[in-house]
């Protein structure tokens, strides 16, 4: 039984390889988007859920990732399989920088400064002139590996899938390790952690850098899935959407992030029928959700669905 569990993710991966056989182009596009946003939620969860810092900077990481990968591909002609990790590293560096104010500032101050930073980035995209192509954005060249061109949604899906599983495995392993434990301890009992001489500064900085990396990679994936980036995608709506995804899924839970990221990213699709009422319904949903399922869907499931066990955080004691 245990042996089957180890291969659970491999099995998932193999099954998911067949998805493009069953979908239309548009559905495939939606699936790509869902995977991207699951990564976004996972990345945000690192900072918000595990380490517990009130940062509104996630949307900026998303944008910086998308823009850096897009610009590297378009302006410098760097192939995507190099641009993508590079973009991730750039965003990770930005994340690290933002970690420093996070150490010093109190909850609401951090919220306000990360909010300001995100809007500032959007301003830079809009007014960056030739460097960032301005308010109408720019097109991304088709990603290629040698002679393989990934020009359709179904082709791009495979890039998304592989990157997704690589990053997911990375995060899952980190969460399960000592680092993950230190994330949790910084959130729940910072003084105790310090007393045990855990380096809380390094932990917070690492969480921010990692979050930046993951969300930056997601942003890079966004640029090849959308094939075009505009500054509009990285403003207030995006900030709030990320927040909703994490809280909806459940703070500090990988399963929750998967649920939250996929469901919320597809929500505009579900609400498509009532264009006028979309905004209103969105707000209403948020409020209803906060009132009746505050611990996220994951928390809801834990409470009301019998037999579901809490996610194992620590490695099994052999």
């Amino acid at each position: 039984m245990k042996r089957l569990k180890k291969y659970k993710s491999l099995l998932c991966f193999v099954l998911l390889l067949f998805i493009p056989l069953l979908t239309t182009n548009y559905t495939q596009y939606l699936i790509n988007i869902a995977f991207i946003y699951i990564l976004v939620t996972l990345g945000f969860n690192l900072v918000l859920g595990y380490v517990g810092r009130f940062s509104f900077a996630n949307a900026s990481f998303f944008g910086i990732g998308a823009y850096s990968v897009g610009l590297l591909m378009r302006k410098l002609g760097i192939p995507f399989w190099f641009s993508l990790p590079l973009g991730g590293l750039i965003t990770g560096a930005v994340g690290l920088l933002l970690g420093f104010p996070a150490l010093r500032l109190h909850r609401y101050y951090l919220a306000v400064v990360t909010l300001a930073f995100t809007f500032l980035m959007k301003f830079i995209y809009i007014h960056g002139g030739g460097f960032t192509y301005g308010p109408s954005g720019f097109d991304i060249p088709v990603p290629t590996i040698g002679v393989l061109r990934f020009s359709s949604d179904k082709n791009v899906y495979y890039i998304v899938l592989v990157v997704f599983f690589l990053v997911l495995t990375l995060i899952a392993n980190i969460i399960k390790s000592n680092i993950g434990r230190s994330f949790r301890s910084v959130n729940e009992a910072e003084n105790a952690a310090e007393a045990l001489s855990m380096n809380t500064r390094k932990t917070v900085l690492l969480a921010f850098a990692l979050s930046g990396f993951v969300v930056g990679i997601a942003g890079g994936l966004l640029s090849i899935v959308l094939r075009r980036i505009t500054p509009d995608s990285f403003g207030m709506l995006e900030i709030v959407t990320h927040f909703i995804m994490v809280v909806f899924g459940g703070l500090g839970s990988i399963t929750g992030s998967i649920i939250g990221g996929s469901v919320i990213s597809l929500l505009p699709e579900l609400l498509r029928g009532s264009q006028e009422y979309q905004e209103l319904l969105y707000g209403l949903l948020i409020v209803i959700f906060v009132l009746f399922a505050p611990k996220g869907i994951y928390g809801f499931i834990l409470k009301y669905v019998p037999g579901v066990q809490r996610e194992k955080l620590y490695q099994d004691v052999e």
Binding site: L115, F119, V247, L280, G283, I286, V287, P294
Partner: protein, 286 residues
Amino acid sequence: MIGQILLSGVTLGSIYSLFGVGLVILYRGTTMLNFSQGEFFMLGAYLAFTFSGVFRLNYALGILFSLIIICLLGGAVFIVIFKKLMEAPHINQVLATVGLVFFFQGVARIVWGSDIRFLSPLLGHHSIEFMGFIITSQDICILTAVSIFTVLFAWIFLSTKAGKIMQAASQTLRGAALAGINVQNFHATMWIVSTGIAALAGILIGPLILVMPEMGGDIIVKALAAITLGGFGSIPGALVGGVLMGIIENMTAFYISTSLREISGFLVIIVILLIKPTGILGVRRR
């Protein structure tokens, strides 16, 4: 020229002060930062527009009705939502206020459409020239209203029983409850008062700026910058920070570039929080 800029900066800034005080009152009284405050601001302006423009009601009466309706709305929002969230983690409270932002913006778009509306000035389109500056009647309205409000509020806060309750609650909520203060009623009152203040700010500045559903988002950011500048959580800080914010914004727009007007707020926030997070007047106990 610089005098004119200063003047309009002070006028604009006093609206930021007013709105900021509303934010801080709610924050100090309930530890909640209400991101939807801007929506009450927006709705106040829209209601005033509706009463005076559409129903052709006497302007003063229209303003009164708008304020009353918004205050009732604020109380209703508390009873329906935030009363139940009083013990919830902060992130959930914040998320709820954000949900309200979407909700009210959506409602405004449906009821009034997405076009820009124009609110006519309270006392008509008059202006006087004084020592080379041009002062409009609306400027005078704003400055008078905010000054009266500040004095009134200071008096209430410092001398009356209600004010003492506010002071107690903002220092220690539990202690206040132990001393017999009804915390729920107090919170409800704070919601009613702060949303009313927001609506008043919207009505006052409506004639000067574009009335559109996105108004709320704009002012919230500027006001956050203002109260951070003045010292987060401090009422005098909100007053000082608001006026300064207005001046800074106008100076930036005129001397540097108009496109920087939008982000002047963000730059201020970032600079202040990196240099002196407690703000100008801040000496917060946190």
